[in-house]
Symmetry: C2
Subunit: 261 residues, 2 copies
């Protein structure tokens, strides 16, 4: 099942996506809901960020090749994480499918994409086990963890390197039926494939993270966990279009502009 959040006459509404048809619902997939009688065309609909998370989690360094690439870029020795310590991103930076990534005027040219699988939590949970962890997952969407590498290196936190407004595209929708082992993440810059990787080849998988996190943290419906990206990443510049496709989910596509251009 495919869940979108759409602009319905100026207000946000959840909706079921079936092929090219969008069916608004009353209520929320995280609570109770029922289909309305409306039928919209996907092409005519303004998609919103598929969920505004109560807490926005991100794994960060979670694919071996990427850890080495980033370490080189920020001038550190590469060090594979030895435990599934989750990190955080911020809601101010979220934008939806099709919305514009705006590079601040004072950013360097080192503004790069990171294509990521996003886990969406479906129920309040704590102390998950390896056996029941996936039962807490509502579905999956796609995230682009846009990063300004010089700020990532110079700053004490990732406040502007990762959380500048518009730096967290997420969407286009949430897919509830997926086999993680089958998925491929493909990244295209201006229509050209620049990288692809098996989505589930993570250092710590979804179950590892959810079990570890819920030893100390309660997860809530709508919380998201971004699972990290693989490989090297390239600069994006004014006028570019960046696409992250995950097979079985769809494609998250966003144009890029630089402020003041």
């Amino acid at each position: 099942m495919r869940w979108a959040r759409i602009d319905l006459n100026g207000a946000p509404s959840y909706a079921v996506v079936e092929g090219e048809t969008v069916i608004p619902v009353r209520g929320s997939p995280f609570d109770s809901w029922e289909r309305t009688s409306q039928r919209l065309e996907l092409n005519d609909v303004k998609l919103l960020v598929p969920v505004v998370p109560p807490t926005f989690y991100a794994a960060g360094m979670n694919y071996a090749e990427h850890v080495k690439e980033v370490a080189e870029k920020v001038g550190m020795t590469p060090k594979l994480p030895t435990q599934a310590d989750i990190g955080y991103r911020a809601n101010n930076a979220l934008i939806a499918q099709g919305e514009t990534i705006v590079i601040p005027a004072d950013a360097t040219e080192q503004v790069q994409y990171e294509g990521e699988l996003v886990v969406v939590i479906g129920r309040r949970c704590k102390h998950l086990t390896r056996e029941n962890a996936l039962s807490a997952v509502f579905g999956y969407t796609i995230g682009n963890d846009v990063s300004e590498r010089t700020w990532q290196k110079s700053d004490r936190t990732m406040w502007r390197s990762k959380n500048t407004d518009t730096f967290k595209p997420m969407g286009p929708w949430i897919e509830t039926d997926l086999k993680l082992d089958d998925l491929i993440t493909t990244i295209r810059l201006n229509g050209e494939k620049v990288f692809a990787f098996p989505t589930n080849h993570m250092i710590f998988g979804v179950v590892d993270y959810l079990v570890k996190m819920t030893t100390c943290l309660t997860l809530y419906p709508g919380d998201v966990v971004w699972m990290g990206t693989e490989g090297a990443t390239l600069n994006m510049k004014h006028g570019d279009r960046i696409e992250v496709e995950i097979s079985g989910i769809g494609t998250l596509s966003n144009p890029v502009v630089r402020e003041g251009m």
Copy 2:
């Protein structure tokens, strides 16, 4: 003016606090509101976390003596921050005035308080200037940034050292009329004063942070910015009560238990 959030017949409601009288309102102080005709006794009211922030910011290292103390504890060379790089905490960890800080069974004895001024944002804003930054502040409350020091040292992120469920007491209410330079933060453990410091003696002040943050980030009504703590901090153990008082705001008081005791 003093704004609380209370449990009103099982649902959260904002309320004005006048002395020992609590007056529930319809609506929200961050939007439009009006007083109801109800009058409650402060002692009879269950206070909730005064605001659930869209984004939960925290300055971290922002008082000179504390930077030295923490560096020693985690085995690093003390290094004063050179720019106002904001960090993050997580909503799962929030508890209200009077609620219980629960130390996980596997935590060490190094679980410590940090008494902090909390800035509550009143309006959507970006690109604040030194002249208008304080106009974006709705008011101030108190936070206790409870921290497990061994996890803070061992983990790649602060997910469990700082964001374990119940590790972020905030309250008791929001005070809108304050002169920051007049404030004193006093910390009491089991009724005994263990530390006090001038609240506004920060490395980077409220204006510094808000101006810097809003170069890249949009702030939203209800966002909170925890401003850090000063000095050394002590362990809290099962059966303790920790209080953080800021003159002009009030006292945030929470009992401490250890899981399984």
